[in-house]
């Protein structure tokens, strides 16, 4: 028997790897120094830990260690990238290009700048697989464009954008390219040189590291990217992000990156297999299930499916021993279904019926089998309770019905 509850929501966060924790522990106690203390061994020890982590992180994404700026997480990294660039380049222009399925950390940073009258923003649509068209990026560029911000891989549907192509266009046009790579780093190869990325947001807790630590890669050469800090103070991180460094978190983040680098190929293969197994298990038990996201350009551990005629939150309730998440309205405060799923242009009912499975390092084949069986059983139960399923079976075209709401 598998042990429950089963955690299969690894896009939301991941458990800290034991090896990461072991690397961190000395920095809570013996090596507790402030990395900015330049005049004693306690400070040096802490700084050594930070330097090592900077290297480990830089290595994973093909950067130089001095290009890594530590932050409190990717939300801050996205804010710093977007607001910092717009402020610094305000004499050059004020136009940002991003896309509708970005994380809120990007979208709401852009909206804040729009509200303040500091930027105009183009929100590019995505195709039915959630992918942005590089040509649309090219066409959206004006002589006022100072920033392109497109994520590497989407956190809900796992779709991987054509980042290298966008990077090439950005370079050609001389526009700074920011990439929120929170879900991609450590999972699939990311290389700021090959991909032509100027700014890259990363987070510790999505790659089996600790929460509350992240980084922003800021290109130093070809071209050197400058930005205005959003947090002022002691001038840490070359003035780009003041504040005493979270040494334990940074050490853990570094260790997590090193492990991810070593194990990526094998882990990606294993997770892809588990994902395919989960998908097959669900599809052989149920009809009218639809995959959201790209069929091939997709994160290894991601499976996002809509179970027609069943509302997502009610399904989550029925599988309470399995931790996954839903694009259903009912799981959000706004009562609107996921903006990411809706952006795919599928019908709204299917947006309410979507479930995201995030398979991670510590999931097993037994867990996957348990989940596909358990979910399928619950979907069948809820369909027996669903008036939509009944109508569809009676041959009623749900789109032709005049709903009274």
């Amino acid at each position: 028997m598998v042990k429950t509850p089963i955690y299969m929501d690894n896009h939301a966060t991941t458990p800290c790897d034991r090896r990461v924790l072991d690397a961190m522990l000395p920095y809570f106690t013996d090596k507790f120094g402030n990395a900015a203390s330049r005049n004693h061994s306690f400070g040096w020890e802490a700084e050594e830990g930070v330097d090592k982590a900077r290297n480990q992180i830089a290595n994973l994404v093909g950067a130089k260690s001095k290009e890594i700026v530590f932050t409190s997480g990717a939300t801050e990294s996205d804010n710093l990238a977007i607001k910092g660039i717009v402020e610094f380049y305000k004499d050059k222009g004020n136009h940002i290009i991003t896309c509708v399925t970005e994380h809120k950390a990007v979208l709401d940073s852009c909206r804040a700048l729009e509200r303040q009258g500091k930027a105009t923003v183009t929100y590019l649509p995505v195709d039915k697989y959630g992918m942005v068209d590089p040509d649309a990026v090219r066409r959206a560029i004006t002589d006022k464009t100072v920033l392109i911000s497109i994520m590497y891989a989407n956190n809900e549907i796992g779709t991987i954008h054509p980042i290298a192509e966008i990077g090439k266009i950005a370079k050609e046009k001389g526009v700074v390219f920011h990439c929120d790579a929170v879900q991609a780093v450590g999972k699939i190869p990311v290389d700021v040189e090959k991909d032509g990325i100027d700014l890259l947001a990363m987070s510790g807790h999505k790659i089996y590291g600790p929460k509350g630590v992240g980084a922003l890669y800021v290109r130093s050469k070809g071209p050197r990217v400058r930005l205005t800090p959003i947090i002022d103070g002691g001038g840490h991180e070359r003035g780009m992000r003041s504040g005493t460094l979270n040494v334990t978190g940074i050490v853990g983040f570094g260790a997590a990156c090193e492990i991810a680098g070593h194990e990526m190929a094998a882990e990606a293969a294993r997770l892809t297999e588990l994902r395919n197994r989960l998908q097959a298990g669900i599809f052989e038990r149920l009809d009218e299930v639809y995959v959201n996201g790209h069929p091939t350009e997709r994160l290894p551990g991601n499976l996002n499916v809509s179970f027609a005629y069943v509302e997502g939150e009610s399904l989550l309730m029925g599988i309470s021993d399995i931790a996954v998440s839903s694009g259903s309205a009912c799981t959000s405060a706004t009562l609107e279904p996921s903006y990411v799923i809706r952006a795919l242009g599928i019908n709204e009912e299917l947006a309410h019926s979507s479930i995201r499975f995030g398979i991670g390092r510590f999931n097993t084949a037994e867990e996957v089998d348990y989940v596909s069986e358990r979910v399928s059983k619950e979907v069948k139960r809820l369909r027996e309770m669903s008036p939509l399923y009944e109508m569809a079976k009676d041959g009623v075209d749900l789109k032709s019905v005049q709903w009274k709401s």
Binding site: E311, S314, A329, A333, L335, N347, H352, P387, L388, E390
Partner: protein, 142 residues
């Protein structure tokens, strides 16, 4: 979000799930909500000629609270006169199920479903009486 015990109970053991034959003249059907809003409730009431709700069945597409609201309503209306059922307010459902503010719309939908089902029954009653009056020969067709 955590659910009240009563919501969980109705969700896990929904009362009176199912459907009556749609063309049964003693049955009123109310379908409220819309798929794109994430909730659709179908409530069916079997009502005696003198206006007493004898039986109720539901099917619901929606969150756990929507399922629980409709399940509870089927219990609540049974045995009631249609006038009493028409007077049921959503607040009764909120109170019984301990619904949090974000789920109040589920109780409103359930209230609407009762009204829609009774209205449908009245209309059909009216229709069949009119039809019977207009076409007396029909009764003999057997």
């Amino acid at each position: 979000m955590s659910y009240s015990d009563k919501v969980l109970d109705h969700y896990n053991n929904p009362r009176n799930v199912g459907s009556f034959a749609k063309d049964d003249p003693s049955v009123g059907t109310g379908v409220v909500g819309a798929p794109e809003c994430g909730d659709v409730m179908k409530l069916q009431l079997r009502i005696s000629d003198d206006g007493v709700i004898e039986d109720a069945k539901f099917k619901t597409f929606g969150c756990g609270s929507a399922i629980a609201s409709s399940s509870y309503v089927t219990e609540l209306v049974k045995g009631k006169k249609i006038d009493e059922a028409m007077a049921i307010k959503n607040t009764v459902i909120v109170k019984e199920l301990n619904l949090p503010p974000v789920k109040i719309h589920c109780s409103v939908l359930a209230e609407d479903a009762i009204k829609a089902a009774i209205t449908d029954w009245k209309k059909r009653k009216g229709d069949t009486r009119e039809a019977a009056a207009a076409e007396p020969a029909k009764a003999h067709k057997g």
